[in-house]
């Protein structure tokens, strides 16, 4: 029995992820008859549109089932070491914040949105000195100069073009 909390956490994640992959594969295989492409009657088996995706799903599904089963068995053995610490919601919050950042870009433009987003990230993660705030603004301006001005990358036109308004004075 291994009671290392880190290993126990890894196994718990592994069981969950492999289980999810298995369920995904089963769902896709269930949907395969209607969604794996058109294969006209009389087509040779090697030209069938379903051959590759179905083979890949079977391969991934069987492997995922075994990985999940193995990890789950280990998780049960290590149950005593699990802390069930649910405080670490960092990635979920970050993912939501990134989605909000994309929407903010559509609203006020890339550079102001980037400045606001990095400032907010710094604030939320404890980087609250003035030099951190200055760095956030400097990063946004540097990215504007590099990508939008120098490399001329097109970004979506914002609803409120703050940079344009600023440039027009």
């Amino acid at each position: 029995m291994n009671s290392d909390p880190q290993i126990a956490e890894k196994r718990r994640w592994r069981a969950a992820v492999a289980g999810a992959v298995f369920l995904f594969c089963v769902a896709m295989l269930y949907l395969a008859p209607d969604h794996s492409g058109r294969t006209p009657p009389g087509t040779a088996y090697y030209n069938a549109a379903w051959l590759l995706p179905v083979a890949a799903l079977l391969l991934a599904g069987v492997a995922a089932l075994v990985v999940a089963a193995k990890s789950l068995r280990a998780v049960r053995r290590d149950r005593s070491a699990l802390t069930f610490d649910l405080r670490k919601w960092g990635p979920a919050a970050l993912a939501a914040s990134f989605a909000a950042y994309v929407q903010l870009t559509l609203l006020i433009g890339y550079t102001p949105a980037t400045a606001v987003y990095i400032l907010a990230l710094f604030q939320a993660t404890g980087l609250r000195l003035w030099r951190h705030r200055a760095l956030a603004v400097a990063m946004a301006i540097a990215l504007q100069l590099l990508f939008l001005d120098l490399l001329d990358i097109w970004m979506p036109a914002p609803v409120y073009d703050l940079v344009g308004m600023f440039r027009q004075g």
Binding site: G37, T39, L51, L52, L59, Y110
Partner: protein, 493 residues
């Protein structure tokens, strides 16, 4: 070789300036996670159309080659490959950084990359026409066998975690099949969602699985790494250490050259072939993935040997081998230059100038990298939260600028969450990408080969090339199973 020597006569101050700018820009863009050569070249493509063809192509080649050099830096320092082809560099480069050997790892990477690049150019200039002739004889069965060997090697590379490797590879191959399939032009697993009709886009997937997931880990505080106390350039001894591993170095560079010549194969298979062979040939294979210098050398020498050799099929046959050379072909066409066998006769000065441009770019890139190492190495000293926060705006631009579609940003975000979960579960993500790249190659070539042979499987064993490749796959598989059974028997006893 005469083309190469004549190419020096084509050098102009503008061309040299463009090469320096391309090398410097490529290194910096390559070092920024998520901004690899594909994005950089795609962004610069319209700019290059306005230039003289030699100058425009030199700029793109400079960015392409140098970005792979630069991509090794974040792979080694912050465990995020700057470009997708630097994935394997993270395996051994980052553990070396954690051990406080960042400078040594960078020195090895620079030298291996330089040797790989130079060998590639040497091969290109001396062997381009004969090599192109050989590659031109490859049939669909040979390509299918090569892709199958690649898929086998990728799976077996996850030593001790074979099932996880199979699972991830299967997922990758499945993802590659989403979208329109080419034979009957029908939709596969698009679920009537419009943006899936074009398939699961590779670049946002790469950005999500590697860059966003790494940003999550950096900001959430999951990642801790030890940086070197002093930010100094690699010493000459560290740069020359690569020659302590001559077999790994030259074999990997050689593989890179061969794989670069084969259309559609490229850096991915080159580095995986080389890495796996270096591991099998090593006296300490258990150190691979934990900071083995040989692993780092194999990955870097192989992937830097590809850019110049990838130009062989384009220049000699007019066939772009992969996305980047396909972009470059558009520069040829805009300037009404037809790549192919006649190019060597009709425009020898153009071919020579390209050879020289590639040669000089390698020198400029490694010199520039060496000079800015103290600044690049400072990335290690930056607060992880700052690096993590900086990744998001870069990913937003990188994901959006491929198709100018905001949906790609959300795809990258989704894969970022998947990548984070895979990271927490200690599941390898590289097989997903390999599956996404090799899956379509295998499917298309397999279908072609079987159709040509009218369903006769023996086509794969009657061709010497495909037979050889499949035999290698079978031998490696048998060797793996033999080792596994022996290990299990030893553990049980």
């Amino acid at each position: 070789m005469s083309y190469f020597l004549n190419g020096f006569e084509q050098l102009t101050p503008l061309l040299i300036l463009v090469l320096i700018a391309g090398a410097a820009g490529g290194v910096i863009l390559g070092a920024i996670p998520g901004l690899g050569p594909a994005i950089a070249v795609a962004v610069l493509l319209p700019v290059s159309f306005t230039m003289d063809p030699v100058v425009g192509l030199s700029l793109l080649l400079g960015v392409y080659s140098a970005s792979i050099y630069g991509g090794a830096v974040p792979a080694i320092l912050i465990n995020t490959p700057g470009t997708a082809v630097n994935v394997l560099t993270t395996f051994d480069g980052y553990p070396m950084t954690r051990r406080g050997e960042a400078r040594r790892a960078l020195g090895l990477a620079y030298s291996a990359s330089f040797i790989g690049g130079m060998m590639s150019i040497l091969a290109l200039t001396m062997l381009s026409q004969p090599l192109a002739r050989i590659a031109a004889t490859f049939t669909s069965a040979d390509y299918a066998a090569a892709a199958f060997l690649g898929l086998t090697l990728v799976t077996l590379a996850q030593r001790g975690d074979l099932l996880a490797g199979i699972m991830m590879l299967g997922l990758g191959v499945f993802l590659s099949s989403v979208g329109f399939e080419k034979v009957f032009i029908s939709q596969r697993f698009t679920m009537d969602i419009e943006f899936l009709r074009g398939g699961v886009p590779l670049v946002p997937t790469v950005l999500g699985l590697f860059a966003i997931s790494q940003a999550f880990a950096l900001i959430a505080g999951d990642e801790t790494h030890v940086a070197e106390g002093k930010a100094r350039r690699s010493t000459l001894r560290e740069l020359l250490e690569v020659f302590h591993y001559p077999v790994t170095l030259f074999r990997s560079a050689g593989f890179g050259v061969i794989m670069g010549v084969l259309p559609g194969v490229g850096e991915w298979m080159a580095q995986f072939f080389s890495y796996e062979l270096a591991k099998r040939g090593s006296k300490t294979p258990e150190k691979f993935g934990n900071g083995a210098p040989e692993g780092l050398i194999a990955a870097e020498a192989a992937n830097n040997a590809v850019p110049a050799s990838a130009m062989v099929p384009l220049l000699s046959l007019g066939i772009p081998g992969e996305a980047l050379t396909a972009m470059m072909m558009s520069v040829f066409l805009v300037h009404n230059i037809i790549p192919g066998p006649t190019l060597f006769e009709s425009q020898p000065e153009f071919v020579g100038a390209l050879y020289v441009a590639m040669f000089l770019v390698n020198i400029f890139a490694v010199v520039f990298l060496y000079l800015i190492t103290p600044w690049l190495i400072r990335i290690c000293h930056l607060d992880q939260r700052i690096i993590g926060a900086a990744i998001f705006p870069l990913v937003l631009v990188g994901a959006y600028s491929i198709n100018y579609n905001i949906v790609d940003c959300y795809i990258a975000l989704t894969f970022g969450l998947f990548g984070y979960a895979f990271k927490k579960a200690d599941l390898p993500v590289a097989p997903i990408l390999i599956g996404m790249i090799l899956g379509p190659i295998f499917e298309n070539r397999f279908r072609q080969a079987m159709s040509i042979a009218d369903g006769d499987w023996t086509i794969f064993v009657t061709r010497p090339v495909s037979l050889g490749l499949l035999s290698i796959a079978a031998l490696i598989l048998l060797a793996y199973l033999h080792t596994s059974f022996k290990e299990r028997a030893r553990n049980e006893s």
